[in-house]
């Protein structure tokens, strides 16, 4: 009887091997499926793999590009750049104000990293405050 059961089970051996393949040692050297990851490499196997893109850095440049495009649209709708004399004694157009905001933000982040270290959420808040100030007063 036992032998008959063993014989019946024989066809299952490959199945259990396949189960091991998917659950046991077969798991090694496989990427864990975690869904979308902001920090995982993107375009890895394409021609621009050497540029080492990640969704996070793509978003970073995307934001800057969007801001520049927004400036283009604003310039198209309301030409002239809306120059004004700000508190720094400079005559700035809205493009200047964007540049000052971005450059100043970079320094805010540098300062935050120097003083507080990571994470930089506080630095981000400060940078946004700085940008708001620049667009309001400078």
């Amino acid at each position: 009887m036992r032998r008959a059961l063993a014989v019946l089970a024989l066809p299952l051996v490959p199945l259990s091997a396949a189960a091991q393949q998917t659950q046991g040692w077969g798991q090694l050297n496989q990427q864990a499926e975690t869904g979308f990851d902001w920090t995982a490499p993107a375009f890895k196997d394409t021609g621009i793999g050497w540029m080492a893109w990640t969704p996070a850095t793509l978003a970073f440049f995307g934001v800057i590009l969007t801001l520049i495009l927004l400036m283009c649209v604003l310039e198209w709708r309301r030409p002239g750049g809306a120059p004004r004399d700000g508190v720094l004694g400079l005559t700035t157009t809205r493009g200047d104000r964007l540049f000052i905001s971005l450059l100043g933000s970079a320094y805010v982040f540098i300062g935050w990293l120097l003083v507080m270290g990571t994470p930089v959420w506080g630095g981000l808040a400060l940078a946004l405050v700085w940008a708001a100030f620049v667009f309001w007063k400078v």
Partner: protein, 287 residues
């Protein structure tokens, strides 16, 4: 209301494309590298802002930045007044004008690495003309390969030799463009040479001097070749300026992440300074 033809923007397209390929794409890559770690083989691992934090708080970076600022301000303090003095002393007319101009242009025509090699040999204590003279004739113990102070003096002398001419030529061009009427008026009023300089020449030169300071600042802030050939950053680390340190990290240690973070910080400094100079220059222009 459409007042202008915007079609001229299309003429800028080739330049935009060129800049995209030789500046934007590499810059984007540097940004990508600065937040990741790589061991080669195109494998990257996210590291966030770790490299920025490490670089900013590292003594090594702060020391290199300090040396860089010291170098830049020292050569500016020497080159700008020296350039003005030489330009003021140069003849305004006659056959000596071209002679002076050519002589002044000569150092500018020599490639950076050749300047480094020239001064390297020139200042060698045992066979170089300057080194041998200082050691054997004057009797000073001068050896730039061993003594940090001597290395710094050689470095600054080399840069002054190489680049003061640029300030001279710019200042001279500014001086020549001042109309004679100003000098005649000063003569009628009996102005002293100092008063002429202070109230006529210096104000008229302010714009060209701003450009000279900007150019000299940027060039000296990014100097690499001459220092690399002359001292290689030594003795020890005493002349390791920012660019030298950057190359050591990027190509010597092959730490691409930290090197990318450092070059971005470096870039932000030059960007901020350029912006300040540009703003100062264009602000004067408007008034």
């Amino acid at each position: 209301m459409k007042t202008e033809n915007q079609r001229a923007w299309f003429l800028v397209a080739p330049v935009v494309l060129l800049v995209a390929f030789n500046a934007l794409v590499p810059l984007m890559t540097v940004v990508n590298y600065s937040v990741q770690e790589t061991f080669g083989n195109n494998q990257f691992f996210w590291s966030g802002l770790k490299w920025f934090e490490e670089i900013l708080t590292s003594e090594r970076f702060q020391a290199a930045l300090g040396r860089q600022l010291f170098f830049t301000f020292t050569i500016l303090i020497i080159q700008i007044p020296l350039g003005i003095i030489i330009a003021l002393a140069m003849p305004r007319r006659g056959i000596w004008v071209p002679v002076c101009l050519v002589l002044m242009s000569l150092p500018l025509l020599i490639p950076w690495n050749v300047v480094g090699a020239m001064w390297n040999i020139f200042a060698l204590p045992d066979i170089g003309l300057l080194g041998y003279f200082l050691n054997q004739v004057v009797g000073i113990d001068y050896n730039y390969t061993r003594d940090p102070v001597a290395a710094w003096i050689t470095l600054i002398a080399m840069d002054v030799w190489h680049w003061t001419s640029l300030v001279v030529l710019l200042t001279y061009a500014g001086l020549v463009s001042i109309p004679d009427a100003y000098y005649q008026a000063a003569k009628i009023d009996g102005a002293s040479p100092w008063a002429v300089f202070r109230y006529i020449q210096l104000p008229k030169l302010s714009r060209v001097l701003t450009i000279a300071v900007l150019l000299r600042f940027m060039d000296s802030f990014m100097i690499y070749t001459e220092v690399s050939v002359l001292t290689g950053g030594g003795p020890g680390n005493s002349t390791t300026l920012l660019s030298i340190d950057l190359v050591k990290i990027a190509l010597g240690q092959f730490d691409l992440g930290p090197a990318a973070a450092m070059s971005l910080i470096y870039f932000l400094i030059t960007l901020a300074v350029s912006w300040v100079f540009y703003t100062v220059m264009t602000r004067n222009e408007g008034k």
